[in-house]
């Protein structure tokens, strides 16, 4: 059951989007978000939707996977759209008890839903098409200038990639321990809150113990292979920006410009 989590999962592939430099993709997501929050006209949103649709099509990510990842967000989307719906000002179209709905409210609600959905889908594009290792490598390179002000960039990136690497292992381990305790008759879905919390102990204690053991073993294994921090460390696959990366970034800037123009003219 825990294996079904798709949020932030990587779907291997060989499309152009998959092959883009992770740095490009991270910056592109930032540009995309900036453009998305600049847009406030029908034309602007349409342009963003077209851009997102084309990227999804090119990356060959199945729409089903996208929608599955959206599921946990349905509540937030519905809540914010309702709030926006009732907080519009101006001439009410429809009144009911203390609620009144205005044209502005409706427009805002629609924009808000579009914004959240496209924001999440856009960031999914990054995590669905980039392996965690590439993602952390990209982040490390982007944060490199911070080394000048003594930010331990390499260490942070290493910690992040190890944490990411251990997530599936921990999930697997949790599954295994849960099964083992279930085999001994443990039940996790009955009783009141306190009973449920108590029922978690037989999982949490072995899980903690094995995490510490794993961390210890990993540290020893790294030292045994002469790991001593980032200094002088080289990479097997060094990333270099390709023409397609520059083109993508140019497209991102163009997108912001286009949305700004559309906003200016109220289209």
């Amino acid at each position: 059951m825990l294996k079904d989590i798709t949020l932030g999962q990587y779907f291997p592939g060989t499309t152009v989007v998959h092959r883009l430099d992770p740095r490009t993709k991270i910056v592109m997501v930032a540009l995309y978000i900036a453009a998305l929050f600049t847009a406030n006209t029908p034309g602007g949103y349409a342009l963003m939707a077209v851009f997102l649709g084309v990227s999804i099509a090119v990356s060959r990510i199945r729409l089903k996977a996208m929608l599955k990842g959206m599921k946990p967000l349905i509540f937030i989307v519905v809540l914010t759209s309702l709030l926006n719906l009732f907080y519009g000002t101006g001439e009410p179209i429809f009144t009911f008890w203390i609620f009144k709905i205005t044209a502005q409210g409706i427009r805002r609600a629609i924009y808000m839903v579009l914004r959240i959905v496209m924001l999440v889908m856009g960031t999914f594009m990054l995590t669905y098409t980039t392996s965690p290792i590439m993602l952390t490598y990209g982040l490390e390179l982007l944060m490199n200038p911070l080394k000048k002000i003594k930010v331990p960039v390499h260490e942070l990136a290493m910690m992040m990639s190890m944490a990411l690497r251990l997530i599936p292992t921990l999930i697997e381990e949790t599954d295994k321990i849960m099964s083992a305790q279930k085999a001994r008759g443990a039940q996790f879905d009955t009783g009141n809150l306190i009973e449920k919390a108590k029922a978690m102990l037989p999982i949490l204690i072995p899980l903690f113990l094995s995490s510490f053991r794993r961390a210890d073993e990993l540290a020893t294994a790294m030292e045994a292979r002469c790991y001593h921090g980032g200094e002088g460390r080289t990479r097997l696959n060094v990333l270099t920006m390709q023409t397609r990366d520059y083109l993508t970034l140019a497209l991102g800037i163009l997108l912001i410009a286009a949305v700004t123009v559309l906003r200016r003219f109220g289209l």
């Binding site: 008759g185 443990a186 072995p206």
Partner: protein
């Protein structure tokens, strides 16, 4: 031949269906486990052994097919699932990593407690289970985390035995132990079998172990049953086993090599005792000639 206690019908399990990671771990398996038998399930890594056995006590739900415990579908209701968990005991691989209680006693008592037995009955079962795996009285009050690896393994196995299952399923129970530890754990399991008449299912990729103790063996390959029969039937198909990435017992290899040299031994040989018998027979035959 005893009647079956567990039967699987066209059991199929597919992991992560409809994703790029889709994997059929178990395919159309029809398996019978008979009362009181010792069954060895062998197969190389990833052949679906572990997935298969997790269906036997309803931990995994089949994608299609059924699991019957004495004719009853174990997934029929919540009560039948609970019953399956109590009647079919499952010891996972490296079970020592599931220990969590303050004392060995409390940890072994976890299973019986979940079966809502009386305090007296729980106490009796804990002591009995500890006896089966050779844990001394004074260890019961110690923390399980202070014990050695082999002892932890015993505590974990006792935790399942304390539920007094009619079928005891063990996934690689001897993995990672030294030869002495392997031997004594095996003896503990056999003593539970002898005294209670429970059926034992041992999952392993070690042919030697399966050969020595099993009444019957099932060979899994890519999630399907490739062979099912008595050890001598299985080991008479040495080349096929090796093609599946499995070993054959050393004595079977020796017998095959002797055959290559023109020395035909009578019958199928897979233990040292059988080898001795076969050689003696051969010698007597030569003496007569």
């Amino acid at each position: 031949m005893n009647e079956p206690i567990i039967k699987t019908e066209h059991l199929t399990h597919i992991y992560a269906p409809d994703t790029p990671f889709e994997l059929a771990a178990v395919r159309d398996v029809n398996l019978e486990i008979r009362k009181g038998e010792i069954l060895g399930i062998i197969g190389h890594t990833g052949s679906g052994k572990s997935t298969l056995i997790q269906h036997l006590n309803a931990l995994q739900k089949p994608t299609s097919g059924r699991v019957l415990l004495e004719g009853q579908d174990i997934f029929a209701s919540k009560a039948s699932i609970r019953q399956a968990r109590a009647r079919v005991g499952l010891v996972f691989q490296y079970p020592e990593y599931q220990l969590f209680e303050e004392t060995v006693y409390k940890d072994i008592a976890f299973g019986p407690k979940n079966m809502s037995l009386t305090g007296e009955e729980i106490d009796r079962r804990v002591r009995e289970a500890a006896g089966f795996v050779g844990l001394e009285e004074e260890i019961l009050e110690r923390s399980p985390f202070d014990l050695s690896g082999g002892q932890k393994r015993r505590v974990a196995i006792a935790g399942v035995i304390a539920m007094m299952p009619e079928v005891l399923v063990l996934d690689e129970p001897m993995a990672g132990l030294d030869p002495a530890g392997r031997e004594s754990i095996m003896e503990n399991i056999l003593s539970y079998h002898d005294k209670t008449g429970a059926a034992i299912v041992i999952v392993t990729h070690s042919m030697e172990e399966a050969a020595r103790h099993a009444d019957r063996m099932v060979v899994l390959n890519h999630g399907s049953v490739a062979m099912d029969g008595a050890p001598e039937q299985i080991f008479s198909r040495g080349p096929e086993l090796r093609r599946m990435g499995l070993d054959t017992p050393v004595m079977t290899d020796v017998a095959e090599r002797l055959a290559g040299l023109g020395v035909r031994l009578p019958g199928t040989v897979y233990t040292v005792e059988q080898m001795v018998d076969a050689l003696m027979q051969l010698e007597r035959g030569l003496g007569r000639a």
